[in-house]
Amino acid sequence: MNVIIAGAGSVGRYMAGQLQDSGHSVTLIDNDPKVVAQGQATRTPVGVTWCLGDACEVATLKSVGTAQADVVAAVTGDDEDNLVVSLLSKQEFAVPRVLARVNNPKNEWMFNDMWGVDVSVSTPHLLTGLVEEAVTVGSFVRLLSLEGGKARLAEVTLAEGSPAIAKELTDLGLPRESTVVAVLRDGHVVVPRGDTVLHQGDEVLVLVSGGVEDDVRRALVG
């Protein structure tokens, strides 16, 4: 895949390295000459194409081949810039998948299809979710919102007394708009099938779309 990353801070560089390692073609854009020069001189991350320029300019995006890009990730430390890059990528270049980083959680409401964002990632929200997950057994924790909140990845650790314990997945009566995507048990990932039986202490990851969260919670938490 052809990936363009706007913002070569630690997040952008790390992503670029990981994606390049898994065989994707990555271009990093940054407007700081020092950052770009250092990246080019040290050749880190290996194989990444560097571009010195303002990713909020159509001309810069055009010069790095955004018109052919499969993914654009706007991961600068500036929410305004991330929104501008997202909107331009979607509107001017019709990039199929646009990801944006939310720096200030107060801005998260803007990171949606209005601004061309397909997936927004908010580190503070993710961290809150993970902390909640660590401290709460038996309740429903939202981990990730997809498609502007239309779908959510949520997690439940089955506590004693959960109505789901010792039941097969098909017997849980989960609504059609939801599905169990993984069960984490004793440090292993169990790929869920209809006949998978749930145990106490299982971490159940559920993908929920639409407004059926309450039904899912009832089936898993009680």
Partner: protein, 109 residues
């Protein structure tokens, strides 16, 4: 000079203003900059994430495309049956093409 040219244009009868060259809708490729023209055959308010958006379908004799303008409920002059030209980059949505916030020109009725 620009003013003079504008003046000359204003003096011309509307029908003689040169219309921008348009690609037939059936020849439109996704992710390529194009200009297409046609009649507005459908208008829908399509609120996304709680924000208003106006979606229209544009049809010429060869096909149909959709255009979405985010953040607005209506655009002056863009009405059902009106002939307009839009220009921008389209993305493929299932079997049809969709423009996001394209530039538009109202064409003479």
């Amino acid at each position: 000079m620009a003013l003079l040219r504008r003046k000359q244009r204003d003096d011309q009868p509307i029908a003689s203003i040169e219309l921008p060259e348009c690609t037939p809708i059936c020849d439109t490729e996704p992710r390529q900059w194009v200009r297409v023209s046609g009649k507005v055959v459908r208008m829908t308010a399509r609120p996304t994430s709680g924000q208003p958006a106006l979606a229209i379908s544009l049809s010429d004799e060869t096909g149909i495309v959709t255009a979405v303008w985010t953040g607005r409920r209506e655009i002056g002059g863009v009405t059902l049956g009106r002939k307009i030209a839009i220009e921008g980059v389209a993305v493929k949505h299932g079997d049809h093409l969709e423009f996001t916030n394209p530039g538009y020109t109202l064409l003479p009725k």
